[in-house]
Structure formats: structure tokens, C-alpha cells
């Protein structure tokens, strides 16, 4: 039995894939590189060059831990508060911010890089959660559909309840999708407590509800590869930059009317109990720095909060930002989120 066990351990060791070469500093450093662990959601991305630059400059090794979507990551961080799995947590957005702050998982760090960041992104006065990027959840539409049908593109939330747009919009269930939740919040910001009446009207006008963004975008939306039945989808203002054809035109665009979009801001923080405070601070400064900020748009389809970061050409050309995105304070969201989702479910799904 022992031999079988030994054999199996050996086999396991042989079968488990070897680490892909981790970038090491080329010149032999006198001190062992320190490891910093960054916990983040599955959509996070960063370029090899940027990570290498950080590692070389700080004699460090960066390990990324990905554990599901933004909600899952935050939950895991809160559950492991007493023995944190990482030094830095990236990916808490403004809809989750109050939960993270209430659970008190972050240490205070007033990064010097924050002085360049516009005030409207700094939602946490206590400087525990530092803003990194933002993006707008907007309705994308299939340009060809509206052109072929000679149908004017809707400009406001009210327009969407008009009979000519019956059955043309697909949204995500806010109970299962953060994109869907953002759009629900836009309607709450616009209509206040009577948002349920608006959703009743949308329901009567044949709004289609699916579980998440992937299904909505790739299965139901008519301008994506899924070639679905709905020419309008709740997605991101940056999505059109990914739908550019060889002739240089995007198949989609966003509806940018007042309050039709909801702004999501993502934050980073140093997890309480870190053994690497100095390096963690450096990493946060790095995330606010020009190199990381300029890489984000094409890697994550989000906008940098640092105004000095230069946007890539594709973004300037195809991703439009709304002038008046809807917004709600994180405190109100934290307090009312569940009740709003419940009210929405009662109206739309029942």
C-alpha cells in the first residue's frame, strides 16, 4: 500500500505541469526576490512587459491569484480576513465598495499617485480603496439593423418602451450578472423608487432577460458572432472597439443618452495582515502609473483613471464615453441592492 502511495505521489508530481518559466531578473540580484501576491477576478489582465518592469525595478516576483468574478473574489477575501491569501486585492467595484469597507479588509494607503486622479473617482475618503479604472455599462446596438430598417436609434431610457422597439433589447438578470445589476442601477438612478414601473413597461415591450453577459452578447445580440435575434444588448461602452471589421468600421455603437449608462469604477487595496506592506504600496503606485494604465484599455476594455495615460487609437475611434452616466453612492447601493433586485425579480420574472 505504501509503495502504491509513493508511486502515486511520484506520478502526481510527474503529471502536474511544470511552472512556466517565471521571469527572473537577468543579472543575479544579491537579495532573493520578494514575492507579492495579488488576488483578482478572472477578467483581470496585464501585459508581460509591465509585470517584468515592476519585478525588475523592485526585485520582486508577482504571483496572481484569480478566483472567479468580482463578487466571488470579494467574498473569499472577506472570509479569509484573519489569514489573508494575498497582499493586494484588485477588482472591487463601486457596487461592492461599501461591503469591502464595512468588512474592513483594507489597510489605509494614501498613494502619492492619487494626486493626479480626478476627485470624482475617489469614492473612499479613508483612502483604503484606491481607484484604478472605470468603464461604462451601456446599451450597444447593431448599426446595420437600424440602418436597414430605417429605424431611429433610441436615445433615452424612455425610448426603449416605445412599440417600435418591441422585443429588440436583451438585458442580463441583475441577480446573476454584474452587468445586469449596473443597468438596473442606471434605471434606479433615473427613476428613483418608480423604477419598477419602468421595468413593467420594458417587460410589456418584450425585453428579453438572460443569465449573464456572455449569453446576452454572444447568443442574443445580433451584431456579435452569435447573430442572435436582438439588435440591442446591455454591454460596455468599450465593446464596439472589439467589433471592428477589416474595412475599419465597427458593427456596433453605444447609446449614450442621459442616464442610459452606469459608471463602474474598480478599486485596489492592500489587504490587512500583509507581510509585504512596502512592496504592496509599490504595486499600487505601479497600477496607477502610466505603463499599467495605458495597457488596460486593450487588455481589459476599461478606461484608465490616470488622465495622463494616452488612450490607444482603437479606443479613441470606436469606444465612446457617455457625457452623463448615471451614478449612485456606494452607501445607498450597499443598503438597497438586495431590495432592488428583489423588486426587479418580482416585476420582471414573476
Amino acid at each position: 500500500m505504501k509503495r502504491i502511495l509513493l508511486l502515486s505521489i511520484l506520478l502526481l508530481a510527474a503529471c502536474s505541469p511544470q511552472a512556466t518559466a517565471t521571469p527572473q531578473a537577468t543579472e543575479l540580484p544579491s537579495v532573493e526576490p520578494q514575492t507579492i501576491t495579488v488576488m483578482t477576478h478572472d477578467s483581470f489582465a496585464v501585459s508581460e512587459d509591465a509585470v517584468k518592469a515592476f519585478e525588475d525595478a523592485n526585485n520582486a516576483r508577482v504571483v496572481f491569484l484569480q478566483s472567479g468574478d468580482a463578487g466571488a473574489v470579494l467574498n473569499k477575501a472577506i472570509l479569509t480576513k484573519d489569514a489573508p491569501l494575498a497582499d493586494v486585492l484588485f477588482g472591487v467595484d463601486n457596487t461592492f465598495l461599501s461591503r469591502a469597507l464595512e468588512a474592513d479588509i483594507f489597510e489605509v494607503y494614501a498613494s502619492p499617485a492619487l494626486q493626479d486622479i480626478p476627485a470624482n473617482f475617489k469614492l473612499d475618503d479613508s483612502n483604503r480603496a484606491v481607484p484604478v479604472d472605470y468603464g461604462d455599462v451601456c446599451i450597444n446596438y447593431d448599426k446595420a439593423y437600424f440602418a436597414d430598417k430605417n429605424l431611429p436609434v433610441p436615445q433615452s431610457l424612455e425610448d426603449l418602451t416605445k412599440p417600435e422597439y418591441k422585443g429588440l433589447l436583451v438585458v442580463e438578470n441583475p441577480a446573476t450578472s454584474s452587468t445586469g445589476l449596473a443597468f438596473l442601477l442606471a434605471t434606479v438612478a433615473h427613476y428613483g423608487d418608480s423604477f419598477t414601473d419602468y421595468w413593467q413597461a420594458l417587460k410589456d415591450n418584450g425585453v428579453v432577460v438572460v443569465d449573464g453577459w456572455e449569453t446576452a452578447y454572444f447568443t442574443n445580440f445580433s451584431a456579435s458572432s452569435g447573430r442572435g435575434p436582438q439588435p440591442m444588448v446591455v454591454s460596455y461602452a468599450s465593446s464596439p472597439s472589439a467589433e471592428v471589421t477589416p474595412s475599419g468600421e465597427s458593427l456596433t455603437a453605444s447609446i449614450l443618452g442621459a442616464d442610459t449608462c452606469f459608471r463602474q469604477i474598480e478599486f485596489v487595496g492592500i489587504l490587512k495582515g500583509t507581510q509585504n506592506r512596502t512592496l504592496a504600496e509599490k504595486f499600487i503606485d505601479f497600477m496607477l502609473g502610466k505603463q499599467f494604465q495605458e495597457g488596460m484599455p486593450l487588455l481589459m476594455y476599461v478606461y484608465p483613471v490616470n488622465p495622463q495615460a494616452v488612450l490607444p487609437e482603437a479606443f479613441i475611434q470606436y469606444a465612446q464615453a457617455p457625457e452623463q452616466p448615471a451614478s449612485l453612492s456606494p452607501d445607498i447601493i450597499a443598503e438597497k441592492r438586495d431590495a432592488w433586485i428583489q423588486a426587479w425579480t418580482d416585476v420582471v420574472l414573476k
Binding site: M1, L12, F44, Q66, D148, A175, F218, S224, L299
Partner: protein, 568 residues
């Protein structure tokens, strides 16, 4: 005289020896049998799960309102699981018969094909069904006037469950069926029974253990169904597992999630106890012999042809959308929209090999394939090492096994999300060790492996073994010549289950994943989480690679012959 005494002495010694063996050895063997599988389950399942439940369960959530709404969800969960299991049996049983009894061209390919859905991510399967039955799908294009709605209906849930789980019936029941002596049937037939009565009165009762085992596995998979309900059922339907997921990740209320998890676990326990009772009353001893025939006569030929056609279209139609979408772009330039333009392209495959954006999280397809294969191989070895002793002990149950038997199934009935949280609070930083992934996969695969092996082991004719040992064969020789040939098929089926479960498992939700060790499903998910035709095409290309990989692996596993086994 002297001789007689000495003879009597040996006799006494033998009796003593036998008594000792009866009283001591069984306990020792039982302990040896159970020590590995049980400690595995305790460390990776019972301990982390009880820890998270103890932390989150709160008596205050036991309100009438909560219990009432939980009951409603439970009712639907149970209802759809029963319906799905019945439908799966309806397709699975004739198919099991087809594969067990008939030899025909393309058989191994078709059988391998039925196992492919088992490891495909739900998102990909949903995309396949949509391409076929969706509002712009093929069926709709062929019959433009039909206005049926597939996605978001109970029908979609049921069909997807049949699509995923038929392979379980085919493998477990088919296994028993191919070891079933056809003499029973011909005897009954010569006594004047017609085919239906032969099936009802002779074959089905003999198949009872494997029938119950496979139905139980299918039922539990349907009972804890999650992805299918969310993606194909839409927002109107909810199972316990979906509710738990929502309460953990989306509308956080961990104590309510804990309550629902406890309900789901209790239900699983009740089902398992019920199953153990049913199965303990029936053991069929089988005689291994070749039962494969070429279809003869019009009736048999028709049966084989119709069923093979039905099966291949049922499994191929939704799956074929993936390779199609990975090779043809459907994008059209502006103004060309009236007709969908198909353009052949291999870009999606070649792009897989380029890290265009220089991302740290780029997944090289070969690396992902090697990781997936490595994990799957390790899962097969681990789950067989743990599964064999447990299955042996369960096949000849003592009081100990009657207690342990229902516990084996519990990992299938526990919520993956809750267990994942349990892992995190219990094992924290160790979770980042990549070799833990096969352990997590084994947790899911183990009930399958045990339930596949157990009926096969129970079916080994005891009198054959006794005859062999009384003729002086050592236990090892008995095992090699009697047990092994019968076990070969079951072992292959068990290995296939473990392999496909591991290939398709995300693991990311259960554990914390390190991006250096991506698997193919993780790569697919990465592509699908970003907009653009290129990402979609690459996801489909990755899914096609995963399909091919599974097909080839299953074909290889089934070709694999254990030494000394030969064809019966």
C-alpha cells in the same frame, strides 16, 4: 495412527486458521480497504464542509418563510431531476443494449461521441444548442414558419440533461449487460416469452444493481444541476444549487446559503440511503462471456440502424456547431446584413498561438492541453487507487459498509460553491499548489468510479473464486484470472469517467486558480468573457480542440487492454 493424528492436527489448525481469518482478517482488510478513501473524503470533503457550515449556519434563518421558499425550490429541483432521469433512461437503456450486444461499423467512435458532452463547459453546449434550436438556429432557418421557443424552457433543461448524462447509463448498464449471459434470455425465449416479457422479467431484474447505480448518479447530477439551469433554463427556473450560488456570490446571505446546502445534503443522504437499501437486496452474479454479435435479420438491423442514426444526430447536431463556428466567420460588413455571409477562415486557430496583446494571462493552447491532460491523467490514477478498495469493500458489505455506503455519494450532492468556500477557510494558502487540482477533480470523480466498479465486483461469481482457491490458486492468481477479466470493462468505464470529469472541470470556482496552470475550459472561458468575433471564434476553436482531445482519449482508453485479459 501417527498419520491420522497429524492429519487431525492439520485439520484443527486449518479450522483454527479459518476461524482466525474470519474473525481477524476481515476487520483488518476492511480497515485497509477504507483507510485511503475515507481519509481522502474526511480531509477534502467532510472537514472543510463542516467547517464552513459551522461558521455560516445560523438557527435564526430557520424561519417559516425561508423554509417555505426553500421547499418550493426543492420541489422544482426534485421534479426536473426525476423527469430528466426518466428521459435519460429512455434513451440510455436501448443505447446501452445497442453497444453491449451489437457489433457494427463506427461503433467505438459513436460510443466515444456520447461521452463528449460530459466534459464540455455548459457555455459551449448552450452555444451549440442555440446554433441548432435558437431563434436564428438551423432548425428555424429550415422551417421558417415554426415559432417554437427552445431556450428558456423546461424542455431545454431536460434535453440538455439527457444530452449530458446518457453516457452514464450507456457505460454503467452497458457494462453489466455485456457481462450478462445471453443464455438466460434464450432460455426464456424458448419457453415462449416474447421480447418485451424477456426484458421485463429476465433482463431488467438481472441488471438491477447497475441500473440503480447509474440512475442514482444521473439523478444526483440532475438534482444538483447548475449551469444548465442558469444558461438554458433562463432566469425563470431555479434549483437548490442555483439558489445557493446566488446566496453565496450575488445576493450574499451566507446563512441562508448554509441552510439550503444542509437541505440539499440531507436530501442527497436520504436518496443515498434509499439507494443502498434497494441495491443491497439484489446482487447478480454474472458469467463473463462474449455477447457481441453482428445484427442479424431485418428487426435487429433496423434496430441498430435507427438507434445509431438517432444517437449520432442527437449528439452530433449540437456539437457540430462548434467546429463550424471555429472555421467560418459569420461577420458581415455593414450593409451586407440581409444574408448572413459565411467566410472560411483558419484565423481563429492560428490566433490561438499568438499572444497578440502580450498579456501575462495568455493561454498557449499546447500548454493548456498538456495541463488538462496531466490533471486528467493524475485524476484517473488517484480515483482508481482510492476507488478500487472502497468498491471492493462495498461489493461485499458488512455493517460498516451499510453505514459508509450512502456517505460515498455525498460529494455529488454538496454545493460546489459552499465546498469551495470551505476549502478556502480550511486550507487557505495551500490552495495555490497546482497539484491540488487533481485532488479536487477526484472528489467529483470518486463516486462515479466507485459506483461503476462496485456492481462489477459484486457480479464476480463467488463459486468460481472458491473453486479456484480450492484448486490451490493463490489469491493473486484468483484475482488475475477470475476478477480481472470481469473488472476490465468496469475499470475502463471508470477511468473514462474520471478522465472526462477532469477534462471538463473548471476547478476555478472550487479553488483559487493560478494563471500559470490554465486548463482548456479556463481558456475557453477567458475568450468568451470578452467581446468581438475573434474572441468568440477562438473560444469555439478551443472547444473544438477539447472535443477532439476527448474523442481521441476515450478511443485510446477503450482500445487499451489490461494484460492477461483477452477477449472473452
Amino acid at each position: 495412527m501417527v498419520q491420522k493424528i497429524s492429519h487431525g492436527d492439520t485439520e484443527n489448525a486449518e479450522i483454527l486458521n479459518k476461524n482466525l481469518r474470519v474473525s481477524v482478517t476481515p476487520w483488518l482488510t476492511r480497515i485497509l480497504f477504507w483507510i485511503l478513501p475515507l481519509s481522502f473524503l474526511v480531509v477534502l470533503f467532510f472537514f472543510p464542509l463542516s467547517k464552513i457550515l459551522a461558521l455560516t449556519f445560523n438557527l435564526q434563518t430557520l424561519t417559516l418563510g425561508n423554509l417555505q421558499s426553500a421547499f418550493h425550490v426543492l420541489l422544482f429541483t426534485f421534479y426536473q431531476a426525476v423527469l430528466s432521469t426518466v428521459l435519460t433512461l429512455l434513451l440510455g437503456l436501448p443505447s446501452a443494449y445497442l453497444f453491449a450486444r451489437f457489433d457494427f461499423r463506427g461503433k467505438s467512435l459513436l460510443r466515444a461521441l456520447t461521452a463528449v458532452p460530459f466534459m464540455l463547459p455548459t457555455v459551449v453546449v448552450a452555444a451549440g444548442f442555440n446554433a441548432l434550436l435558437g431563434p436564428r438556429g438551423l432548425i428555424h432557418a429550415l422551417f421558417p414558419l415554426s415559432s417554437f421557443n427552445f431556450i428558456g424552457t423546461l424542455t431545454a433543461i431536460l434535453i440538455a440533461h439527457v444530452f449530458y448524462n446518457t453516457t452514464i447509463i450507456i457505460r454503467v448498464v452497458g457494462n453489466a449487460l455485456s457481462s450478462l449471459d445471453p443464455k438466460f434470455e434464450s432460455a426464456a425465449r424458448s419457453l415462449g416469452a416474447d421480447s418485451i416479457r424477456v426484458w421485463w422479467n429476465v433482463v431488467l431484474p438481472l441488471l438491477r444493481p447497475s441500473l440503480l447505480a447509474s440512475s442514482m448518479l444521473v439523478f444526483l447530477f440532475d438534482f444538483t444541476s447548475f449551469g444548465v439551469i442558469l444558461l438554458l433554463g433562463g432566469s425563470k427556473f431555479s434549483t437548490l444549487e442555483v439558489e445557493i450560488y446566488l446566496r453565496v456570490l450575488k445576493l450574499p446571505n451566507l446563512s441562508l446559503a448554509a441552510l439550503l446546502s444542509v437541505i440539499q445534503l440531507l436530501c442527497t443522504l436520504v436518496f443515498s440511503i434509499f439507494y443502498t437499501r434497494l441495491v443491497s437486496r439484489s446482487t447478480t452474479q454474472l458469467a463473463p462471456r462474449s455477447t457481441l454479435v453482428k445484427p442479424k435479420g431485418l428487426k435487429q438491423k433496423l434496430f441498430v440502424a435507427v438507434l445509431a442514426f438517432l444517437l449520432s444526430s442527437f449528439f452530433l447536431a449540437p456539437l457540430s456547431a462548434l467546429p463550424f463556428r471555429s472555421l467560418f466567420r459569420l461577420e458581415a460588413d455593414r450593409g451586407q446584413r440581409g444574408e448572413v455571409q459565411y467566410g472560411f477562415t483558419t484565423d481563429y486557430y492560428s490566433e490561438l498561438f499568438i499572444n497578440r496583446r502580450g498579456s501575462v494571462f495568455y493561454v498557449p493552447p499546447i500548454q493548456a492541453t498538456l495541463n488538462s491532460l496531466g490533471y486528467a491523467g493524475a485524476t484517473v490514477i488517484l480515483s482508481l487507487i482510492l476507488g478500487f478498495p472502497a468498491a471492493f469493500a462495498l461489493a461485499k458489505p458488512t455493517h460498516l459498509e451499510k453505514v459508509l455506503d450512502p456517505l460515498i455519494m455525498l460529494p455529488l450532492g454538496s454545493s460546489a460553491v459552499m465546498l469551495g468556500l470551505g476549502f478556502i477557510i480550511t486550507y487557505g494558502k495551500w490552495l495555490t499548489l497546482p497539484f491540488l487540482v487533481p485532488f479536487a477533480h477526484t472528489l467529483v470523480a470518486l463516486p462515479f468510479v466507485i459506483r461503476t466498479l462496485q456492481p462489477a465486483i459484486a457480479s464476480i461469481p463467488e463459486r468460481l473464486r472458491q473453486a479456484a482457491s480450492s484448486l490451490g490458486a493463490s489469491p493473486l492468481e484468483v484475482w488475475k484470472n477470475i476478477d480481472l477479466p470481469i473488472l476490465r470493462r468496469a475499470t475502463l468505464a471508470a477511468a473514462t469517467f474520471a478522465f472526462t470529469i477532469s477534462l471538463g472541470e473548471f476547478g476555478a470556482t472550487l479553488l483559487i486558480s493560478r494563471p500559470e496552470y490554465p486548463t482548456i475550459p479556463i481558456a475557453i472561458e477567458r475568450f468568451l468573457s470578452q467581446p468581438g468575433g475573434l474572441n468568440y471564434g477562438q473560444a469555439m476553436a478551443m472547444a473544438t480542440l477539447l472535443m477532439l482531445l476527448t474523442l481521441i482519449s476515450i478511443l485510446l482508453i477503450e482500445k487499451f487492454r489490461l494484460p492477461n485479459s483477452g477477449e472473452f
